[in-house]
């Protein structure tokens, strides 16, 4: 590297810091890249297996590509090849995950370092003031480059055409770079890592909503909105429908603009300062903030609100998409015969809704895991010490966090069930002869179905609690591994033909498949017992061990 020349004084030390950044990300970065690639490749594989003939794909394209709710979620469908279907079903979502990865990387190495004060330490060495920003951007670029390489290798292996694979890989990675620019600006504007991530996620959310409205708009609607969104550009590149390579220039333009603005801002602002003012808060605590429970709720409520908002949107739209799902699945002749035998439209719709509710259960388990491992983060971050030096005992501390985690999971399941029920009910309520009722009863039915997933989600949260108590050093990694295993078993276990023994490990295997499936009290009871037992073991261990 020749960045040490005097002409680049602002960049001195960039090479060293970039290496440091990549070393710190040596696990997270490959994991993201691998998961995004695996998601796309398995989508391609699934489409090839489920819709082997051109006719089946064409029929699917007509129903799937024409369903406004699905267009809202996935975007526009260009063509009916396996590649086109793959890019439609997972292209924008892969770009969203890529953007999330990039935002995390950029903020982590810029604003988060600054907030933690570590950058001060580095900045006092021979390190230029633009070095950290450059290092963060280089780390993000490296991740997106790795994504291009891996996608270009993996997608043709699943049988997709090479040119389209390259176009899709480039579109996803280029959207990542565009969001690197967005994150770089956010890191200069906000005065903390949390605020910076919030800003960047806000832009990502706005990009999704813009293209979702544009994509689902009917004739005469604001279809042009898709062009206003970097996520829209991913589909508009048309990777498998006659690629429009020039769209890639839009991404690069946004990336360059963001980077330029970020450098200009970074050169002008003070260390540690943001350009957006920090709003003052309450000078005294409210009545509610009086114990570990109040504190746990206060610390968790913002996150929960974010999750609830996201879950409400996704499940309302997914619920609305249930209406056309029968004809969509039916376009595969094998599936059509199977489902017709099983009881026609309603059963297919129920199966779809049950799968959706299952996803709500996994989301709730994910939220609860994140909330429980906060205990360990508080312990290592020094926040447990002032708390436990007061009359609040460890048991109250641990139990409060667990309670907030499980209560949050309950809220998320309720929101998911209600939103899916309303979305479905409002679209079917106009009387299309499906035999199901209007919004109110549907919302109540799916609310119940969703809440039946709570014991299983609580088991995952309680397992995280047990790990925090028994194995503090590996608790965070362990808890996420447990969640990952549960998600993998639940989503792919049946398809991969895993043994019953392995399937039974996941608590969701024992949760009722609702709506439509049979309900019995025994499994729910056993799951509750397991959750209570794991939680009790974790809390007991937490009381006995050293903290810190």
């Amino acid at each position: 590297m020749t960045l040490h020349t005097p002409g680049h004084a602002g960049l001195a030390g960039t090479a060293v810091i970039t290496r440091l950044a990549l070393r710190r990300d040596r696990i997270m970065l490959p994991a993201w890249v691998y998961l995004i690639t695996a998601g796309l490749a398995s989508t391609a594989y699934t489409f090839r297996k489920l819709y082997p003939t051109a006719a089946a794909r064409a029929a699917f394209a007509v129903t799937g590509g024409g369903n406004p709710a699905l267009r809202f979620l996935y975007g526009r469908l260009y063509g009916s090849s396996t590649g086109a279907l793959t890019a439609w079903r997972y292209g924008i979502w892969a770009a969203i995950f890529g953007a999330l990865m990039t935002i995390f990387i950029v903020i982590r190495h810029t604003r988060a370092e600054e907030e933690a004060g570590r950058q001060e330490l580095l900045g006092s060495a021979v390190v230029g003031r633009q070095a950290a920003l450059t290092a963060g951007l280089l780390a993000a670029a490296t991740a997106n480059l790795a994504l291009i390489v891996l996608l270009c290798l993996a997608l043709p292996l699943t049988g997709l055409p090479a040119a389209g694979s390259v176009a899709l890989a480039l579109a996803i990675a280029a959207s990542g770079l565009a969001f690197a620019g967005v994150a770089a600006v956010a890191a200069q504007l906000a005065s903390g890592a949390r605020g910076a991530r919030g800003l960047a996620f806000g832009v990502l959310g706005a990009a999704f909503v813009l293209r979702a409205i544009g994509d689902s708009a009917g004739p005469g609607g604001p279809a042009w909105l898709s062009w206003a969104s970097p996520l829209g550009w991913v589909e508009l590149t048309r990777p498998f429908g006659g690629p429009r390579w020039w769209v890639l220039a839009l991404f690069l333009g946004l990336a360059a603009a963001g980077t330029g603005v970020a450098y200009a801002l970074a050169a002008r602002r003070d260390y540690g300062a943001g350009l957006l003012p920090d709003r003052p808060g309450r000078p005294a605590a409210s009545r509610w903030l009086r114990g570990p429970l109040g504190l746990a709720w206060r610390l968790q409520r913002g996150t929960l609100g974010g999750w609830a908002g996201g879950v409400a949107c996704v499940f309302a739209v997914s619920g609305a998409a249930a209406k056309g799902i029968g004809s969509l699945l039916g376009s595969s002749t094998a599936l059509r015969d199977e489902f017709t035998r099983l009881g026609g439209q309603t059963a297919i719709t129920s199966a779809y809704l049950a799968a959706l509710i299952g996803l709500a259960g996994l989301a709730a388990a994910g939220y609860a895991t994140a909330a429980v491992v906060q205990l360990r983060a508080a312990e290592t971050g020094g926040l447990a010490e002032p708390l436990l030096a007061t009359a609040a005992g460890r048991l109250r501390w641990g139990l409060s966090q667990l309670a907030v985690a499980v209560a949050g999971a309950t809220v998320l399941l309720a929101v998911a069930g209600l939103a899916a029920g309303l979305g479905y009910g409002l679209r079917t309520g106009t009387g299309t002869g499906t035999g199901t009722g209007a919004a109110g009863p549907q919302a109540a039915r799916l609310l119940g179905a969703a809440l039946a997933q709570l014991p299983a989600a609580a088991v995952v949260a309680a397992a995280a609690m047990a790990l925090v108590g028994l194995w503090p050093g590996g608790a965070v990694a362990g808890a996420w591994t447990v969640l990952g295993a549960v998600v993998a078993i639940d989503l792919f276990g049946q398809a991969l033909g895993l043994s019953h023994w392995l399937l039974d490990v996941s608590p969701f295997t024992h949760a009722p498949r609702l709506p439509g499936g049979p309900v019995s009290a025994a499994p729910l009871l056993w799951l509750t017992v397991a959750a209570v037992a794991l939680g009790a073991v974790g809390l007991a261990a937490l009381r006995r061990r050293d903290l810190g």
Binding site: S191, L289, L299, P386, L387, L388, A389, A391
Partner: protein, 302 residues
């Protein structure tokens, strides 16, 4: 019950590292006790055991007459604590945290007292903790501890990050607390702080108690620093108990054992003294001696 803290032969290991290896510490009720030692000596580990955050491997420890591990929550209602490295919840304001910690202790701080401390330390309580500097985070923890009615204050390097002005405020506050009859355990490696505040001192090294006693008692063990300007050259050749003798024409600097002081002064006055400064060693010098070349074996007085 006269001792707020009584620790005897305390031992704690982390893996193969021995953090504490037979530490003794006695803090009498109503005194300000300085707990001194270089970084890594085991001060924070001792405090964490006293707070019931860590479990001791051996020895005995009693805090306010109770067992710090078993009775943790009940004892904590009676003490205030300022950690050495203050971390605060980034999205709570300083004012919220002060209230929260007081309520968690079971005795919500008296609003007037809290307000007075906030003004005394010049803290902006409406700011989010994320925006506070290290010194301001320290102030939040100090105000939370001082505003409580706790019998015992455990302060782990409480002035790190405070500017000299705030350090002075802190000293005044500790003085007030002593007058109100509270017990203070003040861990520090800033010796001037201990000298200014402490009734008694315990110095630890490598997880063991090296010295303990009042400052006067410790000084008794130590040399006195003598600087003199004399009428002419002096010969000290036959005097015992002198160290670090340095003569530059009529100027003399040396360190004298207390027992040698009489003979030294007689010798100096015979030559004729122009100016003379004798001063007790600062804790700094005490420290340097304890932790430099001599490495004496553990001893205890008082």
């Amino acid at each position: 019950m006269t001792n707020a803290i009584e620790v005897h032969a305390l031992a704690k290991s982390f893996g193969r590292t021995k953090a504490l290896d037979g530490l003794d510490l006695t803090v009498r009720t109503g005194e300000v006790h300085a707990f001194l030692g270089p970084n890594g000596a085991g001060k924070t580990t001792t405090i964490r055991i006293l707070l019931g955050l860590l479990r001791k491997d051996g020895g005995t420890a009693s805090l306010l007459g109770g067992d710090p591990w078993r009775d943790a929550a009940a004892l904590h209602a009676r003490l205030g604590y300022v950690p050495g490295d203050v971390t605060l919840w980034p999205n709570l304001t300083g004012g919220e945290i002060i209230d929260l910690l007081g309520r968690l202790r079971g005795h919500p701080p008296d609003a007037q007292r809290k307000q007075a401390l906030i003004e005394r330390f010049a803290l902006d309580p409406a700011k989010k903790a994320r925006a506070y500097s290290k010194g301001n985070r320290q102030k939040v923890a100090l105000i939370a501890a001082l505003a409580s009615d706790a019998e015992l204050l455990i302060l782990d390097e409480p002035t790190s990050g405070l500017d000299p002005l705030m350090e002075a405020v802190f000293r005044d506050c500790v003085g007030d607390e002593r007058r109100r009859g509270r017990t203070v355990l003040l861990s520090s490696h800033i010796l001037a702080e201990a000298e200014a505040l402490a009734d008694r001192v315990t110095i630890i090294r490598d997880g063991r108690t090296a010295e303990t006693g009042t400052l006067a008692q410790l000084r008794h063990l130590t040399r006195i620093s003598v600087d003199a300007e004399l009428a002419g050259p002096v010969s000290l050749g036959n005097l015992a108990g002198l160290h670090a003798v340095h003569m530059d024409g009529p100027r003399l600097h040396c360190e004298a054992d207390p027992a040698a002081l009489n003979d030294l002064l007689r010798c100096l006055t015979e030559t004729g003294v122009v100016t003379l400064t004798c001063r007790p060693p600062t804790l700094e010098e005490l420290f340097l001696r304890l932790y430099s070349s001599e490495r004496p074996t553990a001893r205890a007085t008082g």
